[in-house]
Amino acid sequence: MRREIPATGVVTRRYRLTMDVAVQTEGLRKSFGSTKALDGLDLAVPEGTILGLLGPNGAGKTTAVRILTTLLIPDAGRAVVAGVDVLAQPTKARRLMGLTGQFAAVDDYLTGRENLIMFGRLYHLSRAEAKRRADELLERFDLTDAAGRLAKTYSGGMRRRLDIASSLVARPPVLFLDEPTTGLDPRSRLGMWQVIEDLVRDGTTMLLTTQYLEEADQLAHSIAVIDAGRVIAEGTSNDLKAQVGGTRLVLVIESTQDVARAVEIMRKVGDGTEPTLEGLTVCVPVTEGAGVFAEVVRDLDAASVRIADLGLRRPTLDDVFLRLTGHSAESVDEPPTDNDGAAKP
């Protein structure tokens, strides 16, 4: 069921290991017991861009990030960050990257400011430099008022901001964001998106993992979809959407007697492809979204077709998966090791 999509030029796997590519992996493999978490993963993130690593739970996203950030040693393959081989020179590589994981990993019993100073000291900034940098970051992430409070009193959004600030203490040119918005309320999520956009404007290269197509769509310059530990599609979000077929109009009718008329009307508003029929549900890809809505309602009404439900459906990660792999994103079994910070078999 695997389909190739053409290389788009934004991300290709043929970059040489130079500074043009800030993050690169080649043939990464990693197994936990009998579970293959990564099965030959090739990624390349050009400098100053965001690569969205998209996939369901257990696809290997977190494992890839953990290898790139030197937390995990792969069974095979190589990984290069900012020109430094993370396996050969892990300490040097760590100076050049920041990591924001799925958990806001800050010390609850330190204040926000103390957390940042501590991380600065561990990046070996001088005491004065660490303090200056902490104040700068508190200001930037709107935490100045809460700077003297213990981190355990912070709200979820504040913790996440402190967490991302912590990973920026040493101004790393490369940042790994592992599901940075998972568990955040919509407002905090938008705030986090703003932060990420600001960072890329400043020239930071980012690898962002997410389960949300919308998030990758909003932020990433290019997207790599991974499943079962390997890249199954890569390109811009437009490329991927083209694969999935764009927005679809979905109509559910009340009676089988109306099927023929409903299909007829849907064919007319569709993009030219034949509508699909499943039970009482008729589905057709459309080129323009809301515009067809009024038209289809009018036509259905005129033809006396009773409507149970009518809606526009944007392609979701699940659609991408269904199209690319033949299985739905949710049905993928999650290996116990992936996405689980500390545990290993």
Binding site: A22, V106, G203, K344
Partner: protein, 278 residues
């Protein structure tokens, strides 16, 4: 110059040392001691109850030689050692907490020395142990304990005990790294300390035990440590009454245990740290 190149140049000169990094970790954990006073209180409550229990409830029927009033002098070195060993086990809980919350992974992703994460933990533990010891010493003095071995004896005995605490906290660190959850560290971290402290000379003379148990009790690290501390803290005449073996042999065995524990558990901790990357 690109961002990456600029950063590579900027960071090239920055180097840390394991001791510098360990100190940063120590400071962080010391702040935690002060800011989570419940933890400190809980590590005090149990030994205080033990003092009261043994001093006033069981003490009257425990014969260690010497007069009844002297039992508190026999007891307190045992209580000190037991308290400090439990403190070492509590290290595992803090360690597991860091692992569970993902903070440990953040530290591992920093250009710091990874061994410093553990070393800082052991050092802060020693500082907490000193604090707890001073509080327990106060409790001991209130219930009648006196140093009869002189000033230098008191200093020497305390140093020996704290050195042992440092060695023991590596066992706690290993447990924390291995179990990875606070709950498991809580239940698994302490169980093994009960037989170790009770089948020893901490509360009663080992020659009052059945012979099969005496064999174990006499080589038990807790016994040799408590006996060494008694020899330092108490006058020779009191030690003779209590039948405490001569200092030389006990201190030699205690020293052997000290190095033995470090030689076994520090490498095991480092191995466990490495295994996290697999």
């Amino acid at each position: 110059m690109t961002t990456v190149q600029a950063a590579v140049r900027e960071h090239a000169g920055r180097r840390g040392t394991i001791f510098g990094d360990a100190w940063v970790m120590t400071i962080r954990l010391i702040k935690q001691i002060v800011r989570v006073p419940d933890l400190l209180v809980f590590s005090i409550v149990q030994p205080v109850l033990f003092v009261l229990l043994f001093r006033y409830v069981f003490g009257g029927s425990i014969d260690v030689g010497g007069s009844q009033a002297d039992y508190v002098d026999y007891l307190m070195p045992g209580i000190f050692v037991q308290t400090l060993l439990f403190n070492g086990a509590a290290t595992g809980i803090g360690m597991a907490d860091d692992v569970q919350k993902g903070l440990f992974d953040r530290f591992r992703s920093l250009p710091m020395s990874r061994a410093a994460i553990l070393l800082g933990r052991a050092i802060s533990d020693l500082i907490r142990a000193t604090l707890i010891f001073l509080i327990m010493l106060g409790v001991g003095i209130l219930t009648g304990f006196r140093f009869s071995g002189g000033f230098w004896g008191a200093i020497a005995g305390t140093l020996v005990m704290l050195a042992f605490t440092f060695a023991f906290s590596w066992i706690g660190i290993l447990i924390g790294l291995t179990v990875k959850t606070v709950e498991a560290a809580q239940s698994g971290g302490f169980i093994w300390l009960f037989p170790l402290t009770f089948a020893s000379s901490a509360f009663v003379r080992t020659d009052s035990m059945p012979s099969w148990l005496q064999g174990f009790a006499n080589i038990n690290p807790v016994t040799v440590l408590v006996n060494s501390v008694r020899r330092f803290y108490l006058s020779d005449s009191l030690c003779e009454q209590f039948g405490v073996p001569a200092l030389g042999g006990q201190l030699l065995q205690a020293t052997a245990w000290f190095f033995g524990i470090l030689l076994v558990f520090v490498p095991l901790c480092i191995r466990s740290l490495r295994r996290m990357s697999r």
